[in-house]
Symmetry: D2
Subunit: 381 residues, 4 copies
Amino acid sequence: MAKSCNVALIGQKFMGRAHSNAWGQVARFFDLPVQPVLHTIAARDLEDLQPFADRFGWRRATGNWKEIARDPEIDLVDIGTPNDLHAQQSLAMLEAGKHVACEKPLAGSLKDARVMRDAAKKAKGKTFVWFNYRRCPAVALAHQLVKAGKIGNVLHVRARYLQSWGGPAAPRVWRFEKKRAGSGAHGDLNAHIVDMARFLTGDEVAEVNGAISKTFIKERPMPDGRGKGKSDVDDAVLFLATFKKGAIASFEATRLAHGHQNRNTIELNGDKGSLSFDFEDMNVLNYIDATEDPKVCGWRRIMCTSAGNHPYAEAWWPDAHVIGYEHGFTNMAADILRAIGRKKPEVPLPDFADAYETQRVLEAALLSAKQRSAIKLSQVK
Amino acid sequence: MAKSCNVALIGQKFMGRAHSNAWGQVARFFDLPVQPVLHTIAARDLEDLQPFADRFGWRRATGNWKEIARDPEIDLVDIGTPNDLHAQQSLAMLEAGKHVACEKPLAGSLKDARVMRDAAKKAKGKTFVWFNYRRCPAVALAHQLVKAGKIGNVLHVRARYLQSWGGPAAPRVWRFEKKRAGSGAHGDLNAHIVDMARFLTGDEVAEVNGAISKTFIKERPMPDGRGKGKSDVDDAVLFLATFKKGAIASFEATRLAHGHQNRNTIELNGDKGSLSFDFEDMNVLNYIDATEDPKVCGWRRIMCTSAGNHPYAEAWWPDAHVIGYEHGFTNMAADILRAIGRKKPEVPLPDFADAYETQRVLEAALLSAKQRSAIKLSQVK
Amino acid sequence: MAKSCNVALIGQKFMGRAHSNAWGQVARFFDLPVQPVLHTIAARDLEDLQPFADRFGWRRATGNWKEIARDPEIDLVDIGTPNDLHAQQSLAMLEAGKHVACEKPLAGSLKDARVMRDAAKKAKGKTFVWFNYRRCPAVALAHQLVKAGKIGNVLHVRARYLQSWGGPAAPRVWRFEKKRAGSGAHGDLNAHIVDMARFLTGDEVAEVNGAISKTFIKERPMPDGRGKGKSDVDDAVLFLATFKKGAIASFEATRLAHGHQNRNTIELNGDKGSLSFDFEDMNVLNYIDATEDPKVCGWRRIMCTSAGNHPYAEAWWPDAHVIGYEHGFTNMAADILRAIGRKKPEVPLPDFADAYETQRVLEAALLSAKQRSAIKLSQVK
Amino acid sequence: MAKSCNVALIGQKFMGRAHSNAWGQVARFFDLPVQPVLHTIAARDLEDLQPFADRFGWRRATGNWKEIARDPEIDLVDIGTPNDLHAQQSLAMLEAGKHVACEKPLAGSLKDARVMRDAAKKAKGKTFVWFNYRRCPAVALAHQLVKAGKIGNVLHVRARYLQSWGGPAAPRVWRFEKKRAGSGAHGDLNAHIVDMARFLTGDEVAEVNGAISKTFIKERPMPDGRGKGKSDVDDAVLFLATFKKGAIASFEATRLAHGHQNRNTIELNGDKGSLSFDFEDMNVLNYIDATEDPKVCGWRRIMCTSAGNHPYAEAWWPDAHVIGYEHGFTNMAADILRAIGRKKPEVPLPDFADAYETQRVLEAALLSAKQRSAIKLSQVK
């Protein structure tokens, strides 16, 4: 009989909802070596928490996340809290011998991230970081194609994560507080595309060649409607980078690009072909094989929904019966449970050590913007 | 405290899975006047059924669907079986006083459909038909825009439902047997786009002006691998039609259009603007307002994910965190539960009487193809 | 030394301009066996004619087109007049031993078209019909790919020519008079897509299976601003057809589809792949090869501008330095001059006999709409 | 009677052809205050020159460009030679009192550019620089919309010019020699998008925040087939910049991006909306008005071909009868002739002073790449 895995979740907001859904759906659609049990959910706002727990089927709700560390029944702790809490909570759980799946970015600061990486190295439990976009079938397919040499050596990486919700009317929630969020669009959005770039190229950034960090809107209305509060995080961060094997790259994250709501895009140009992905058309991977007959050569629009051919497709629906945002999380939950059950995930899972490398790149970009100079990654540890 | 609604489902194949998921997800994402309980699932293949029931959380599984009619606890019966069973099962459930939600097309024959419509008229329970595409937010929004007069009088309707899985290697499952399926691409795919055309225009077909029904592939390998069997349904049906208020329309369904996997598209041209939808890009509605400044007039690509602005969007994720195929069913489950709880659905729900009108159009198209002449809808009853 | 070909043109409106440009440009961009000389232009409005002739470099202008027939210097006569004049003018020129290039549709009536075909059969001069879209590189490439078997047997043809300029404010020019134009959108637009369908499939229509001809707007403002005049041509014609080798097809032409200004589109689905073209993105051919690895199979967007690989590309600019509408005419002028100089055109040129076949299909569609029945092409001669 | 303008052209390669065509076509399609006369063409390769001159209608051909300076009949000199010749030739012509239209980039070096700017300041003749993309109707429309405040304050500029012809097999023509070309993709392609960014924003770059200049391919086959030669220009240059009014920008030029052949794209995000352009779909401008009803808000695809509504459209064909690459040059020729005839061009024309500002930005980017630091534009003169 299949083993089970008792899961605890901390957080009940946007990510709490996405993760709860993933844990609830994963066993319905995937054949798993280990069955998840929605054991405990923890969050501060107890009034909201019980209905939330009932809705998503969590067996138990608590206002004190530390109880989770103490509960021997719990195998895996999923952390979906603001960035400044990741380190403290992860460390507690790793010390308690749990597996830990932490939301991205790994932490609000490089120092926190380093501590987490070090703790993970010594821990018994496995660690995971919710870079969910790796598990969009199109992105996972791109990873496989690059690895199979389909685009040859990578020359260019072009990554953008553009949103538009951050206008002057957006309330001053924690995401706009440096103290809690660490950064703005940078940690929220560039974290994803740096991870994707590393995941897709299989390469590491050697140098950040220049950067801009910009706060366009310096104060925002408080969520309670009482006046305005300081917004001290970036609204947008752009940077240029060079990879170890020579690819040159540009990255951009912003919350102020009208017409783009969740435009997470990445393109790779290799010496044999190119790949491009746009989350707003998430079921599709664009690919061009530059080695084929020029008469019929062109960008191919691959609908990544073919069971047996495309990652994760077998779990879901027939061809072009497309999937959505939340499926990236469910696909990741499946891979986490496979990893815990000693099976191979569909594509590599990021752990704390891996996410720490992403964090270094983010830090180097901030340094570059501040110092108005290029920064070698070897300087950032 | 919220009332509950005990749901029973017949069927565990493709639609059984889509409906089970919808009943399981709906209360997690919607605030409902009535809470669904996954009470009983019935299907013939008992060996597969119990694991399926466990996976999706059905409390009870049975090999005999008639038990459902006899069970006084059950409020709503969801029928996800092949078309030739819809009438018998629906009638039994309506006679037993249940609400019935039946898969589309309403039936495999017009005669069955008529009997179902008549039974529904006299029944205590409500009836629903799973024309799920009405509940893609983009399609629901299109309905609202037409109703609000945004495109003026409708002149043209252009509807296609193109798939490509039906090549000569596709096995001779029930869908290729006329006796069981009634028709091929016609009932399977044209049913959807005829419903959508009626739903979006708010108008009814007056005449079918010509039609082609074509079976390209006349025999197929049997599913058990033993030889070939006759395929006696259409692979493609095209027809032209005129609506009562004067719009002229074309419809096409095929399973043999490479490059289209689930290309359910519809476009309306009115005298003030146009709307178009393509399921393979399901979160988007294309709209052009022909009355605005020609300097900046153009097709608008509306990402239908804005909570408070677009149908169903509030239930799901932030802007452009797109939804997928299955959400159409979950959105419909929400509207069915609202209707049962005497609340208004987001957009009108098709009942048996409504689906019977769609069936008449399908029948008129087949007659037109056979008789090589135009057919007035008034001749088809 | 290169021979020259003295060209005369009748007409100075829209087509007069497009043809004049083609004759002026062709020798600049193509290496030709025969050099065109812009010898004479004829048109009724003499006041406008001389400046027009000067502008485009016509050596001589005349108000009497019959002079052209009498002028022994002239080799090729290009007819760009309203449809009701095609027969009379073509016959006069063929009798005078000239080559004739006539605008499409071949004629305003089938009877005229038949007379023209018969005259061409007996004439010494060559005939050509300006189905310019055949010479968009993407369409010519599609022709070559179908011929090379790349999409296998053709199963479906889907052709639309949608425009939107024909609203109630459009003045009652000759295009809205049945007497002069023969028909409305049908002869103007369906003529093109019937020609393209025949050209691309290499097959002929066996039957029209049904049709709708609709005049939405029955009177229009007169061009001189004095009151309204009757508009007695169709605004839209839709029809279904079956090709001899079994492909099934739909055609639609309209002047009332907001959002489409010159949307001339055609798609072919074969048993090995598909091709689609949309004039509004005219440099691109979409192609899917359904026989390749499903992991990377998808619609390819082929930019048809590669010299040496794509038809006509060598004459123009580097890759993706795209060409426009008028280039179809220039490319056709090049092929006409090649034909006259006994060289092979890039792809086959339509002559009067060929265009007569298109005219038969148009006639069958009108009959089908009128008689409310299918019409075998063998009935239309 | 209309005045005439005697034009001389230096160069007969790619640009020679594009410019010759423009001077030949402009009077056919535009009503001009001054009529161009194709007076003299000069180029080194006399064997090729005479046939070229005949083909495009140049009255006279010479192997010595200096004769042009001495010829009092010539009014306007068009320079289409490699970058290292621009300064010498421009100066000679300005000294001779001619108007000068020079290909972009203004020069191969900032020093040359400065000398040219200074000469222009003192000259009697007008100067123009062939930044042809300003005269794509979509780009000109974007300029007008920004100027009219339609997108509000510009926050982001995202410009890319991606080509793919520069692989290792591309021969070592002058474009790969630093001595002659000054730079590679940078001067060739970034020049265009820096000009477009300045033109569209109406703002100037204050600082380059970081840059990468990369030569991937260090030697290439010689055009004569004899061995390999050194390629010492950049294959790609990326840089980040800040505009004076605060907008932040990224620029990228490359010749090594498979899937992009002439992908000149620019996007602007303002606080009220966004605009984007892609040359490979050159007739279209994408625009989103973020202030309108979110229910129907979306990117609008504006087909910029409407006479009376869109720049230059009146000169050409009906709606969506699209234009191509060469029309940008013809539109520019029209505006140059208007300027010479003291009429207003459709949108502002770049002169040497204007192009010098673009050159400063290019220089700052190279400095930034070299010095691995941010560079204030005030440092570059």
